[in-house]
């Protein structure tokens, strides 16, 4: 009877887990009768079994659920959200009861009636407006029948695994013994066959540890649905890759971090429908969970199209919490800012909600993921969503490791904890000792250094070969340098837990039994750092930042500058950040207009800062400059190189185009003052379309056509022959006329549109004091008149 009961309980619990997702999917698509049948079947089975096992409460609950579902099946009732909630509530209660029965505890029964009442009640409103109250969650899950399975006790599988491990060891020993004897091909053949069988067996057995990721995902749809309803958000959930398999223990370890991330994503990431509408997104947010296998890792990506992480707010919080100085914050890269989310006690949640934002958050998630050798990565698109990727090893038990030797013993250390390995005679490495502390400086970076023998209290035997220095980084700490006798090997290690006695030392993470039959200990990088009492992360970071600041104050601040040769031959410097790019421009693209030099680039006119427009070569090297709004072009003879120049020139001149002189490599170079450079630019943009046209009223006149028009065109003006028929004139246009009769017509047009008229005369002398016309060969006056009209 006990066995039967136990069987019933575990079966019920398992089905419940799988069914929660089904119910949510069914809510999204109430017409899906297959799912309805599956749920109905569950309650029916429970009802049947508990009648037999004499569990009246189970029976009552499942009976009520069955009734309602039957009604829905018959089409007499609608699967509205309230009903689904009630069904889920019943399922929860059955789960609780099963738990209680399993441990033999009592559970108060008064809530059962309430649950059943909630299920049976049929609020009419729901029947009329089924959509209004709900925030439905559509979960798309491949509704496929899982493979047939049987239930086995875990201890049996562990026994099996141990047996196979023993077999592998026995085979190894046999192989050693066989090698010592004279070769016998027949025996070798048989042994080979045995070897293959054993290897196959080991592979298969290790698969019994595997579990489909489906199990990991099983609770997600329900959670998303409940949270979505609670927060009034609409979420379109998409689960993919449920058939990927991973280690059973790994699944257990990933459940919590995953749940946390999904909660965060719904609470903080995905906005309310109103906010989403305002942001121009579809009302229902997308949440996508995807699992896939990549090499010996499982990659789980959780992406949403919500608001992403507001890094600015994160920085503000960190500064407000005193974890960061504003200076340090300003120097941080976007990635560093984003990583602040992993600091304990920081949350972008504006307020603490029941769901998340209590500051117990991503730091714990990261710690959990890293403890199992995983990595967590963020891909943040502010305003558009966030994608969090978890990479965890396929199994907990096999990790790539390095075998190191110290004090005559071998130790293993996870490959992932080792950043680099150097020999202590390497030039880039310098080991110094001060006050008993060892410091390894590797390429200008100072690391705390310990010798593994010292940490473990072993004597260090003398050795003739150089010692190996490993830069070790634990999941949470700062990297440190660790000296060992040698790094011997790189192997895939089967890690098993060490006894609590050994673990209590804090420096070991487990043990492994290599083929030679000598047990080996796996070192714990973080534990070693603790045992050696190395400065921990925050102290070190603060110290490093203080160091940086001190360096900045005493040293001269340098900026990158471009060294170039002017067309006039001087060598000068210009701050590099101002230069957008350097390019060779056809000399013919340079021109002058209204006394200013310009160059035609990409269909725009760009001012030339040093006013040059005539060059003795076809191609001119030019610096394309840009301040925040305007651009300019700086033709030069040659671009030399990029140098570091002091922020403040050695000799300062506050006026003019040059801000001073800097000495670079013993050479005195004039430094261009970017302020003066842009200040000297014309106020108006030299945008072609904004310039007025030159309208030549006397289109029939030979001189106008053959001499005036080409001159104007050459000067860069747009020339129109004759008055436009539609009289579409811009006030900036300039009318040029030569004849007296056209002058009158032009005058009328000018009065109408407000454009300027320039009258030309054939005679060099003015007809009288009131004669405002210009001698037609007086080019300067003519250009000035046209330019004036544009002023």
């Amino acid at each position: 009877m006990d066995d039967l009961l136990q069987e019933f309980i575990s079966e019920t619990q398992e089905t419940l887990e799988a069914l929660a997702g089904e119910v949510v999917a069914w809510e999204a698509d109430p017409s899906d009768s297959d799912r309805l049948d599956a749920i109905f079947r569950f309650f029916h089975t429970v009802k049947g079994s508990c009648g037999f096992l004499n569990l009246p409460r189970f029976e009552r609950l499942s009976h009520a659920a069955e009734d309602v579902l039957a009604e829905i099946r018959a089409g007499n009732r609608l699967a509205d959200p309230a009903t689904v909630s009630a069904v889920l509530g019943l399922m929860d209660r059955i789960g609780e009861l099963a738990e209680a029965v399993a441990v033999g505890a009592a559970l108060p029964s008064e809530n059962d009636d309430y649950l059943i009442a909630a299920l049976v009640a049929r609020p009419e409103a729901n029947a009329i407006h089924p959509e209004t109250a709900a925030a439905p969650v559509a979960a798309r899950q491949a509704a496929q029948a899982g493979p047939r399975t049987i239930r086995l006790p875990l201890s049996l599988i562990d026994q099996l695994m141990n047996g196979v491990s023993d077999m592998v060891l026995a085979r190894n020993e046999l192989s050693r013994k066989l090698r010592e004897r004279t070769a016998d091909p027949e025996l070798d053949n048989v042994f080979e066959r045995l070897s293959t069988c054993v290897a196959d067996m080991r592979d298969v057995i290790s698969k019994t540890r595997m579990q489909r990721v489906d199990r990991l995902f099983a609770a997600i749809p329900r959670m998303v649905r409940d949270l979505g309803r609670e927060l009034g958000k609409q979420i379109d959930l998409n689960l993919e890759g449920g058939d990927v398999e991973m280690d059973r223990e790994m699944v257990e370890m990933v459940v919590d971090p995953l749940t946390h991330i999904v909660r965060n994503s719904i609470d903080h990431g995905i906005e309310t429908p109103e906010q989403r509408r305002a942001a121009g997104k579809p009302e229902s947010g997308k949440l996508r969970l995807e699992a896939r296998q990549s090499g010996n890792q499982i990659v789980i990506a959780i992406s949403d199209d919500g608001a992403g992480i507001d890094t600015a707010r994160l920085v503000d919080k960190a500064v407000a919490a005193g974890r960061l100085t504003p200076d340090a914050a300003a120097r941080m890269s976007e990635e560093d800012r984003l990583n602040l989310i992993f600091h304990p006690g920081l949350s972008t949640a504006a307020q603490v909600t029941a769901i998340s934002g209590r500051g117990v958050g991503m730091d714990v998630v990261r710690a959990n993921v890293e403890r199992i050798g995983g990595v967590i990565a963020l891909d943040n698109h502010p305003g558009q969503g966030l994608c969090i990727t978890l990479r965890v090893p396929l199994t907990l038990t096999i990790i790539p490791g390095l075998i190191v030797r110290a004090g005559g013993l071998h130790f293993a250390i996870p490959r992932s904890a080792v950043v680099e390995i150097l020999h202590d005679n390497n030039d880039t490495l310098q080991i110094s000792e001060v006050g008993g502390a060892k410091i390894a400086t590797i390429r200008q970076v100072r690391h705390s250094m310990v010798d593994l023998e010292d940490v473990l209290g072993m004597t260090r035997p003398a050795q003739s070969t150089p010692r190996a220095i490993m830069v070790v980084r634990s999941a949470t700490g700062v990297p440190f340098a660790m000296g060992v006798s040698a790094v011997d090997n790189h192997e895939e290690l089967v890690i098993r837990p060490a006894s609590p006695l050994v673990m209590a030392s804090g420096v070991y993470a487990g043990m492994t039994l290599p083929d030679n039959g000598k047990p080996m200990l796996l070192l714990d990088a973080a534990g070693l750092a603790n045992a050696a009492k190395l400065p921990n992360i925050l102290d070190d970071r603060a110290a490093r930042q203080a160091e940086e600041q001190a360096g900045a104050q005493t040293g001269v601040e340098m900026v990158a500058a471009l060294r170039f040769e002017e067309l006039s031959g001087e060598k000068r410097l210009l701050i590099l950040s101002l230069i957008e790019r350097v390019e060779d421009i056809d000399a013919s693209l340079f021109g002058r207009s209204g006394g200013r030099a310009f160059v035609r680039l990409d269909g725009r006119l760009v001012p030339v800062v040093n006013g040059l427009s005539d060059f003795d070569r076809d191609k001119v090297s030019a610096l394309r400059l840009r301040d925040d709004v305007r651009e300019a072009c700086y033709p030069v003879a040659a671009v030399l190189d990029i140098v570091q120049m002091p922020m403040v020139p050695d000799m300062v001149a506050m006026h003019g185009l040059l801000s001073g002189v800097a000495v670079i490599d013993g050479e005195h170079l004039e430094v261009i003052n970017p302020f003066a450079l842009f200040a000297a630019l014309p106020q108006d943009d030299l945008v072609e379309s904004a310039r007025g046209r030159c309208l030549l009223a006397d289109a029939q006149d030979g001189w106008t056509r053959e001499i005036l028009a080409p001159l104007l065109r050459q000067a860069g003006h747009e020339v129109v022959l004759g008055l436009p028929a539609d009289a579409l004139l811009d006030p900036r246009d300039v009318l040029l006329c030569t004849g007296v009769d056209t002058m009158q017509a032009a005058g009328m047009v000018a009065d109408l549109t407000g454009c300027r008229v320039v009258q030309l005369r054939a005679s060099p002398r003015a007809a009288g004091p009131s004669d405002m016309s210009i001698y037609r060969y007086d080019q300067d006056a003519l250009m000035a008149a046209i330019a004036g009209g544009q002023g």
């Binding site: 141990n162 491990s165 023993d166 592998v168 060891l169 026995a170 004090g407 013993l409 940490v455 473990l456 209290g457 072993m458 098993r496 837990p497 060490a498 006894s499 609590p500 006695l501 050994v502 209590a504 030392s505 420096v507 070991y508 043990m511 039994l513 039959g517 000598k518 047990p519 080996m520 200990l521 045992a531």
Partner: protein, 145 residues
Amino acid sequence: MEKLYLLATLAGTRIAVEAGEVEAVVKLTEISPVPGMGAHVAGLSALRSRVLTVIDVAALVRGVASPQEQRGLAIIANISGHSYGLMVDTVSDICRVPEGELPLRGQIDAAWAPYARALIEHEGQPWLLVSLAGFIEGGALAQAA
């Protein structure tokens, strides 16, 4: 029901262990030391594919590690899911004790006090009844922590 006891000597003292606690008695071959631990952790030893944590019980009780050459026999026990080997000097017998457990008499050595549970009588000699789990959980872990 009469219980089975394993009789052994350990640090010169006659001890008895309930046979239910004992998985096997093996001759230790190679022990890989675990540096950074107290003397009572002799090291790790492989027993087929299992790895034993070998406890030098004499060191635990007396505080003096057994000399290398005296390391011979170990009682294998599974204590809270982990395999341990507890080093003993000799193992003499496994027997039933009709009288059962007797209360402790006399003034027991302070070193033994934490581990001694009772006495049993066999062939006219008193044997100190100890619990293997007591060595690990009571003594070794406390010292390690």
